[in-house]
């Protein structure tokens, strides 16, 4: 695995660091307290490549708690609400786009 320090990081807008939680695989986001949250709304937003790199490096250090952290795009609207920036992230944040065979 390439260390975040060596990766080329390019971000085009507001972004978050996301990963999956090790013990159960659930989607998590880096929060502003240097921890993880399962709610996108509580994710820390970065806006520059340097900020993103710093947060990714810090996230990657938690190999026990989180798997495969990466930078994901988000959209932040005028009242500060955070929305996933693409379909993949939308599905990760909100679940499958189909009905599950057994309703939850």
């Amino acid at each position: 695995m390439t260390s975040p320090l060596q990766q080329k990081i390019k971000i085009t807008g507001p972004s978050v660091v996301t990963a999956n939680r090790t013990w159960d695989g659930v989607v998590i986001y880096r929060d502003t307290q240097q921890g993880w949250t399962t709610e996108l709304a509580k994710a820390a937003i970065v806006r520059t490549a340097d900020e993103a790199r710093a947060m990714l490096t810090e996230s990657a250090a938690d190999d026990v708690g989180a798997i495969g952290p990466y930078i994901a795009p988000v959209a932040v609207n005028d009242n500060g609400a955070i929305k996933p920036g693409n379909l993949r992230e939308q599905i990760r944040a909100q679940g499958v786009t189909i009905d599950l065979p057994v309703p939850a």
Binding site: M1, N20, T22, W23, D24, G25, V26, V27, D63, V64, I67, G68, N86, L87, R88, I91, R92, G95, V96, T97, I98, L100, P101, V102, A104
Partner: protein, 551 residues
């Protein structure tokens, strides 16, 4: 059924305890994710978009009722109440927690089920014809050899860290239901002039980013030599397969780059040096494995029982019988396919309740045996024809009697972007929309045999290359687009489909497929000229014209 003995059960239990230790070390931080990843993959554990995904092997597609009930139990207890049958005789659970996996494995081990080598760069689940042992005209039951290969390849000390994954498929019928030509090694059982069992060996087939049809490496390898011959192939691959580029690491690339003659010569040289070793299978050893496959005590029954005659008045029953019941080698019996492709449903999914019900029905009507095929459907392999009407009612009640087997709505699809971390686009919603478009079974029957295969990315888990119509999802500027190929097939005439033109957006895929099907109906010479035959005769042009003329 193959009955595991104490030796097999011990190994499975040892593997469960090893994995429990590995998970413990991962959760405590003793193992890094980089170190753990290959270990979990070798036990079928992936990380997907929302959760871990757990792939459990169904060796040669044969399950007992007790085993299927245990799958239902795992789905209910550790997952979200359903499982997904894949194209390689596996079942996947999509929502499992890493911390729960050792317990789930332990539960499965009680019935001889495991997840060994359902992923990783090792030999994967050895697959075969889902009608093995019951198909009329079969040379012999290929599962005996699949089991020998399963044992041979399980925790192999030399070949557990190959350049890339390695898949075997075996058939013993003229009609290939196991897709052997698109496997790393494809084996076709046949007899030599002396009446001895052996294998035609194909190598280097596969789909993915660079599809290849398997090439003939040896027309006849005697059964006693099959393990040493396979070991020679694997050894050449292990040493010379590319490890510099994951997309060029499959054996198909090595075979392609060396050329089949050169590759075959390397294998032959290796084989000559080691063929007379402990790998030689004595008749006695083969017979021992054979003796642990038990077959039902079939009764002498009428092929045209009264129950069937009276039920034939019901057009719904007749439609299902004609579509889903295949001839059995024993008169009076049939092979019943259970469609896991309901209109509007995700292809290949079954709920825990359905699994339990199917397990019960298998006990009542199929000697407690269930089969799983690469088309993502199930089968009951030994159903007395007189029981068909009663069975049909029960299957219909639980939603697995859609009379669409091999028809346009019997779609193979990967999980796609709804679940998969590799996917670029969704697959399931495309399949669902298509089943709605062709929901009328009379129309589907009129169209005839037509396989639509959908993959959500170039890795081709949905086998799009070999669908009569193949749909491949690609991402373009953040939008989901789909490339359409036609003319592919996965059987004994396996061929990779041809692209008809530029990719189309998500919303237009179903329209395009309808156009292609309409073009076929207008162009076919006679009602029994299959879609794929019409494409062979006409080429892609007329279909392309129809699709792109107005787009």
């Amino acid at each position: 059924m193959y009955a595991y003995d104490e030796i097999d059960r011990t190994l499975i239990n040892e593997r469960v305890s090893e994995f429990r230790d590995q998970v413990k070390r991962r959760l405590s931080g003793e193992l890094t994710e980089d170190e753990f990843k290959m270990l979990r993959l070798m036990n079928g554990v992936y990380l997907q978009l929302h959760a871990y995904m757990f792939r459990v092997a169904i060796p040669y597609g044969t399950l007992s009722s007790a085993q299927l009930r245990k799958m239902a139990h795992v789905a209910r207890r550790y997952d979200r109440g359903y499982g997904h049958f894949t194209t390689r005789q596996n079942i996947q659970f999509n929502w499992i927690k890493l911390a729960d996996l050792p317990d789930a494995l332990e539960d499965l081990a009680e019935v001889g089920i495991h997840a060994m080598q359902t992923s990783g760069n090792c030999t994967r689940n050895v697959t075969t014809d889902q009608w093995a042992g019951v198909a009329p005209g079969e040379v012999e039951d290929p599962r005996i050899w699949a089991e020998l290969l399963r044992q041979y390849s399980t925790l192999h000390p030399e070949f557990s860290f190959l350049p890339r994954k390695f898949k075997f498929a075996i058939t013993a019928s003229d009609h290939d239901r196991a897709a052997i030509k698109v496997h790393d090694i494809g084996l076709r059982i046949h007899k030599n002039a002396a009446g001895e069992t052996g294998f035609e060996v194909l190598v280097g087939g596969g789909l993915g980013r660079t599809p290849f049809i398997g090439k003939l490496i040896k027309p006849f390898v005697h059964g006693r030599d099959i393990l040493s011959y396979v070991e020679s192939i694997l050894r050449v691959y292990n040493q010379y397969g590319r490890r510099d580029n994951i997309y060029k690491a499959r054996i198909k690339i090595l075979v392609h780059e060396l050329g089949i003659e050169k590759f075959a010569a390397e294998v032959e040289e290796e084989w000559i040096a080691m063929r007379d070793t402990a790998l030689t299978l004595d008749d006695e050893v083969v017979e021992d494995i054979r003796s642990r496959f038990t077959y039902p005590h079939y009764k002498t029954l009428s092929d045209t029982p009264d129950e069937l005659k009276s039920a034939s008045a019901d057009p719904h029953f007749e439609a299902w019988r004609k579509n889903s019941v295949a001839p059995h080698k024993v008169p009076g019996y049939g092979i019943v396919t259970l469609s896991l492709k309901p209109i509007g449903g995700p292809p290949g999914d079954a709920t825990a309740d359905q699994m339990d019900a199917i397990a019960d029905l298998a006990e009542k009507y199929s000697f407690g045996e269930i089969r799983v095929g690469h088309e993502q459907n199930l089968a009951l392999p030994h159903v007395a024809k007189r029981d068909l009407p009663a069975l049909w009612k029960a299957l219909d009640k639980i939603g697995v009697a859609t009379p669409n087997v091999n028809l346009v709505t019997d779609i193979i699809a990967c999980p796609g972007l709804d679940y998969c971390s590799l996917a670029n686009t969704r697959s399931i919603p495309i399949a669902q929309e298509l089943t709605h478009r062709f929901a009328n079974h009379d129309t589907a029957n009129l169209i005839g045999r037509l396989h639509i295969n959908i993959s959500g990315c170039i890795n081709a888990c949905g086998h799009h290359h070999v669908g009569h119509i193949g749909i491949l999802g690609v991402e373009k500027n953040g939008e989901e687009y789909y490339q359409i190929t036609i003319g592919g097939r996965a059987d004994e005439h396996a061929v990779v489909g041809t692209l008809i033109g530029p990719a189309v957006p998500y919303a237009e895929v179903a329209d395009v497929i309808e156009d292609i099907v309409e073009a076929y109906l207008a162009l076919r010479q006679r009602p029994d000229e299959l879609f794929v035959e019409a494409v062979t005769r006409l080429g892609v042009e007329p279909f392309k014209e129809r699709v792109y003329a107005t787009r």
